[in-house]
């Protein structure tokens, strides 16, 4: 069995002492920022990205991935115990999780979140191992037209699934594409949108943009509408599930995993949509929907499994096609690029230890989260007592060191300050920044593939429609746009994204 060999290779990489240590640091930092509101995985990974320069690529990815899924995990802990979603994906968990805690069932709620996440993580690890190789093999046959159409589809899906108005999200994608153009054109050597600034001829730094837009502007916004946080610590007992509770949760966990895996492979926003959809489904299939909102364990089990499944399956398109499925995945690809590895389907064949090591580490990381976090819950909750006024200067300090250490350039710091202001403007105007980041990452690749495609076809744009794979991507793109623009679905989408 080839998959078996691959998984063995993966585990042999992931179980090395060094990689175990990076995995541990990753999930620990992830849980920490997951617990703390006001700082998310996006900003943290952007901030820590420069620190991974001197680390081997596998270890760097293992740690960054750990931060990502660890954060989903930490977010649910505070959602259940103090009704405070540490991450947006945990908003849904607050509904029934906090009710359970108020009824003295915080233990089972936390346990089901942990067990559900772990089961979802295990299934998704297998899914990735099964589906990633054939996908990558297919992608290796893609030419420039296929790549262009695929990226177009990815960007459109990301925009329509993003929070808020669809046209604005699409426009933000275009803004990102334009930002991606800044720098020297590889074909003509001409520098574009550089305004005579030497640093800009190399393009806008990935870290600069991400930290400016996602860390600095986030703090500005938090300081704007600051509200006093209240922390109630409740005693947590019985951190385990009884057999009836487990039977009750098993279906939701499986369905949640399915929902999460589905949304995971679709390029789109964070796991919030997956967990919200799972909640809706559980409420619909339940024989006693009136219990939802009053401490139904299914309302915790489903969404928690869904957001973890989503987080992991996002790696499928990212690693096999080189197309990031979310803003965090764009950062992962950024980490690869910084390490000198070009993302794409060839990664799996040329660097199998990187791919399979990462996959195996995710399973190990999920196990660590279960073992570690249940006993540490008291510690995480007491962390909430750290006031935000102590936290945000620390975030600023880490951000600035992160940016400066990339190129030792103070111009990049000034640029980050500018993007901080811009990012805040986008936040206020409800223009989603995540699609912008995807556009920024894909921009140069898209232009390159567009040029190449038209060169092969001697300038005939029909090349995108004549080739079957490319045509199917284009048709899918148009279908997605039509479906999402249909009034009924549009309303539903607005409901879901608003609630999430």
């Amino acid at each position: 069995m080839e998959i078996f060999d691959s998984l063995v290779l993966g585990f042999s990489v992931a179980l090395s002492l060094q990689n175990l240590a990076y995995c541990f640091i990753g999930v620990l930092v992830g849980t920490l920022i997951g617990v703390l509101p006001g700082i998310g995985p996006l900003a943290t990974i952007a901030m820590l990205l420069p620190l991974t320069f001197n680390v081997p690529p596998v270890s760097a990815l293992i740690m960054l991935a750990g931060i990502y899924y660890g954060a989903q995990y930490g977010g649910s802990t505070t959602a259940i115990l103090v009704n405070l979603p540490g991450e947006t994906s945990a908003v849904v968990t607050c509904i029934d999780g906090y009710q359970m805690a108020r009824q003295g069932r915080a233990g089972p709620a936390l346990a089901v979140a942990a067990i559900g996440s772990f089961i979802a993580g295990t299934i998704c690890t297998l899914l990735i191992a099964l589906f990633a190789p054939p996908l990558a093999e297919m992608a290796l046959k893609f030419g420039a037209p296929e790549y262009f159409s695929l990226m177009l589809m990815g960007l459109v899906t990301a925009a329509v699934l993003a929070h808020g108005d669809m046209v604005k999200s699409l426009a933000m994608v275009v803004v990102g594409l334009l930002l991606g153009i800044v720098g020297t054109d590889v074909n003509s050597g001409m520098s574009r949108f550089a305004f005579g600034i030497a640093e800009l001829t190399d393009g806008i730094g990935f870290v600069v943009l991400a930290v400016g837009v996602f860390a600095v502007s986030e703090i500005v916004s938090n300081l704007g509408d600051q509200e006093e946080r209240q922390v109630f610590t409740s005693k947590v007992k019985n951190l385990w599930l009884t057999w009836p509770e487990f039977k009750q949760s098993f279906g939701p966990i499986m369905r949640g995993t399915g929902v999460g895996a589905f949304f995971g492979v679709l390029p789109g926003t964070g796991p919030a949509i997956a967990s919200f959809s799972s909640y809706m489904i559980e409420k619909k299939v339940s024989k006693t929907p009136e219990r939802f909102g009053k401490g139904a364990i299914e309302g915790v089990a489903g969404p928690e499994s869904a957001n973890n499944a989503d987080a992991q399956c996002k790696f499928i398109p990212t690693l096999t096609l080189g197309i990031p499925a979310s803003a965090v995945m764009a950062l992962m690809l950024g980490a690869l690029t910084i390490q000198g590895i070009a993302p794409g389907p060839q990664v799996m064949t040329q660097k199998p230890e990187l791919f399979w090591g990462l996959i195996a580490s995710m399973w190990i990381g999920n196990l660590m989260l279960v073992i570690l976090n249940l006993p540490l819950i008291g510690l995480w909750v007491s962390l909430l007592k750290v006031p935000y006024r102590m936290l945000f200067p620390a975030i600023m300090v880490f951000s600035c060191i992160g940016i400066y250490s990339v190129n030792n350039s103070n111009m990049e710091l000034y640029l980050a300050a500018l993007f901080g202001v811009l990012g805040f403007l986008w936040l206020k105007l409800d223009c989603a920044a995540a699609p912008m980041l995807l556009g920024f990452v894909l921009g140069p690749m898209m232009e390159e593939n567009l040029r190449r495609a038209l060169l092969i076809s001697r300038g005939d744009p029909m090349v995108f429609l004549n080739r079957p794979i490319s045509l199917s991507f284009i048709i899918a793109t148009i279908l997605i746009l039509i479906i999402m623009a249909a009034p009924a679905i549009r309303r539903k989408r607005e409901q879901i994204t608003d609630a999430a």
């Binding site: 803004v175 949108f193 300081l223 704007g224 006024r389 600023m396 000034y414 300038g459």
Partner: protein, 150 residues
């Protein structure tokens, strides 16, 4: 209901897209556009700028119809102070070295908040700086002088 244009969320968004789109087309006007067969460096930016301009118009008109207000406040203080802190750090790091730049960065950043207790902030700044020196300079071996220019 009347919503001032300066508070009309989508009108402002549209305006921003139009400005960026037109700006891109304007700056790229001198880049050779080429043909579809041999695309010049100007082709993609001009096309994107045009698309963005059209989307901006649509969003702007939507704003005039829907009249959604910008939510929350503009947190002017943080909006000025935090980017300023980043800029000051940029100005200092090569002239004064790592430690003074970090302390100033932490103190200015803290001033963006509503509460500012000087002693607390000072202790926080020193603790953060010490932690960062240990982690980045000694731990990760970053080559920045602790004090003084380079």
């Amino acid at each position: 209901m009347k919503v001032d244009l300066r508070e009309n969320r989508d009108f402002l968004s549209g305006l921003m897209f139009i400005v960026i789109g037109l700006g891109a087309v304007f700056i790229a006007r001198d880049y050779p556009v080429g043909s579809a067969l041999r695309m010049g460096p100007g082709y993609f930016p001009v096309a994107l700028g045009g698309i963005l301009f059209l989307m901006g118009l649509y969003v702007m008109v939507q704003g005039l119809i829907k009249k959604e207000k910008v939510k929350g406040n503009w947190s002017v203080r943080a909006l000025i102070v935090l980017p300023l802190a980043v800029v000051v750090f940029g100005l200092m790091i090569e002239r004064t070295g790592f430690i003074p730049a970090l302390i100033v960065l932490a103190i200015i950043s803290a001033a963006a908040g509503r509460e500012f207790k000087f002693l607390e902030v000072l202790i926080l700044a020193i603790a953060l700086t010490a932690g960062c020196v240990a982690l980045f300079i000694y731990g990760l071996g970053m080559p920045y002088p602790l004090v003084g220019g380079h």
